[in-house]
């Protein structure tokens, strides 16, 4: 798993590659913590290279969403591969998190 941050048009984009799972969430949480410490207001998770997410991964994403929401920030997900979007759908997480086909659409959504 690898996670990289990049600023684009005032939006914080995090690129996650590999699985978001029980063995990788500790490292992901550290980055999420930093994003929140930096008080980023508009955050996108680009999941183009995330090929699986488990229960720990889902709860970590939801905790991140709540943490951002607590100081009025927004989270959007983009470029989700079908296998992962199926998992979002069956767990109803897709009904809470904002999801976009492309990073561009996610950035547009903040305007």
């Amino acid at each position: 798993m690898n996670i990289r941050r990049e600023k684009k048009n005032g939006v914080e984009v995090c690129y996650v590659s590999g699985e978001i799972n029980i063995d990788t969430v500790a490292d992901i949480k550290k980055v999420f913590r930093k994003v929140m410490d930096d008080k980023e207001k508009k955050v996108i998770l680009n999941l183009e290279h995330t090929d699986y997410i488990d229960s720990l991964g889902l709860s970590t994403l939801l905790a991140f969403y709540k943490g951002l929401e607590a100081y009025g920030a927004c989270l959007a997900l983009s470029n989700i591969v079908p296998k992962v979007s199926t998992i979002f759908r069956i767990t109803k997480v897709d009904r809470v998190l904002c999801m976009y086909n492309t990073e561009k659409e996610a950035i547009e959504s903040f305007k």
Binding site: L56, L58, V81, K83, T86, I87, I90, T91, V96
Partner: protein, 234 residues
Amino acid sequence: MGESRYFEYEKKIQEAYDELKRSYQEVKDSYTEMIFRLALVAEYRDEATGTHLVRIADYSTEIAHGLGLPDKDTEYIKYASPMHDIGKLIIPDDILKKPAGLTPEEREIMKKHAKLGADIFQDSRSPLLKAARDICLTHHERYDGAGYPLGLKGDDIPLYGRIVALADVFDALTSVRPYKKAFGFDEAVDMIKEENGGHFDPKIVKAFIGRIDKIKEIWQASKDIDQFISEKGV
């Protein structure tokens, strides 16, 4: 062969390899995506939650790690375990959705979901779908031979079936059902231990207990997800 020609060949081989790898990944992703989608249909009919499917995959994967299974086998169990109840698709609604108190005849029909699920994957050549078949057919077998549908005993029960049997029971114990409350984590673990050598293979129980910290993390995470989703009212 000139050096530039050699590098040209090497580049072409690498490109062909990358293309093959990409195609393989696409096929694999489609397979696993379809498995989750099919499992979802069965769960919708049974009105259980999708988090159950993800938990079954997570618990089974942890047990596989505890047993020290090779990565390939662990991957098969991760993706095939959510299919365990796919046979419920073929069980009539009036039996499947009856809240409690099945008659003996209805219970026998309900038990057919194991064989019906296995039939869906019968004769597949794919190792993943073969694993799904084993899991569907044998996840209600018991190590002491008192399970169904075949009454298999001990190591005659395929390993994948023995793993998912424990994962499924543990998840049922820690989940609310129309006819029962959810047992607490420690209480459910004690109930699993009591069935060591009875319902469950002692090797599987040992692997499960060996990964108990991870199992608890999964249990807690899934509770957090369900709570979050219910708070949002979706």
